[in-house]
Symmetry: C2
Subunit: 254 residues, 2 copies
Amino acid sequence: MTVNYDGTRYNGFQTQPDGNTIQDHLEKAIATIIGEKPKIHGSGRTDAGVHAIGQVFHFLTESTVPAERWPLALNGRLPKDIIVTNAREVHLDFHSRRSAKRKTYRYTINANQYPDVFLRHMQLHHPGKLNIEAMREALSHFIGTHDFTTFASKHSEKQSHIRTIYEARLEVDYSMTRPDTRDQGILHFYITGSGFLQHMVRIIMGTLVQVGEGKHAPDAISNMIAAEDRSEAGPTAISKALTMWGVHYEEFNT
Amino acid sequence: MTVNYDGTRYNGFQTQPDGNTIQDHLEKAIATIIGEKPKIHGSGRTDAGVHAIGQVFHFLTESTVPAERWPLALNGRLPKDIIVTNAREVHLDFHSRRSAKRKTYRYTINANQYPDVFLRHMQLHHPGKLNIEAMREALSHFIGTHDFTTFASKHSEKQSHIRTIYEARLEVDYSMTRPDTRDQGILHFYITGSGFLQHMVRIIMGTLVQVGEGKHAPDAISNMIAAEDRSEAGPTAISKALTMWGVHYEEFNT
């Protein structure tokens, strides 16, 4: 199944002791249909406050409800900020996380003078001067296969920190930019990789903001990566500006 | 001053007995700066739940705070969903409402299969089949100078219901539309006129939806207008999908 959510009110995707996660709400809604609590598996965790367009999860069921009926049935049982948009039957060897080939995240910086009153729950507001071309150049240095220890939480428990970034691009939206102001546009960063370590996109973004502020040269990124040391990178940028933007599988995309 | 607001939590722009209006919050914030409660005048009312990009208001003050300092000073005192984006000194004969030459409103229908999880607070969700070209044609029949009694609230107390619609256009955003689904796009209706009667845009929209559903032919609009009878038009569409999109003055635009 594919699910979109506004992560503002939730403690992230994955079930945890404090409750109020996307997984909790999905499992509860599914349980009212199949009569027992399922165990769902997401394509990856998202932190508290992080959003998703096209998060994918799967579960095993013997329910005879046809796949195409599930989205409406679930949406009627879910909070309004969690919306299932697709459901299909898959082979038993499909696994939302292990079968995923690529994931894309989007991170959004509002570099206009004032916050966007309608989208402030999904933007980092940075009215200060940013060197957008320097940020774009720095972004390109992440592409390729690297050990991303510098850009992973120190609490990462993964055995390997080697990941591949396939694509990283910056799109600037000037549609809300007013003439004769210090507005710099809405900056959408799209990063596609084989997988992402804990806080990886947010640490990349915290570092890119420092590049934009002139605190690092764009080509400093390569040395930071080579250092394999979290303290070489910038801070972890706020979660609310991050959206899981899609998961790609070999057989079909979502 | 120019102000943007997310109207979701508010009882409309103009002060009323129940309180919690945009005007109340603005006057309270201004009072903390000038030491006395001002009386502000908006370019027009917006109903409860209606949003604004570029609502304009003015007030008289002897304050010596320079105009350019006001936005940041006020934003620090306002709720996060009300943002002042511009301030300037004007002649004493300027009046936000009386000097306004044109106003533009936007109304948004999400005609995709599922609600947009991030923008559902500003969209009417209509997943059912809509004839978009019929709606576009119907929209064009509103252009011109007409008596809009048919498209005004029965509670309207205006002496004249004659208004001029200068421009009315429909833009369809297909960026969130998924292939092989019943998604029809996000429909943004922009209507610019000399002024608008109570509920006028919402009644126009409620009628256009009926046209889209095939309940009226597009050219039925002209007869509806000619009837000068509220009962000839469709229902008043929900307020949350409406945004005041700008006010135009002779001397300067916002």
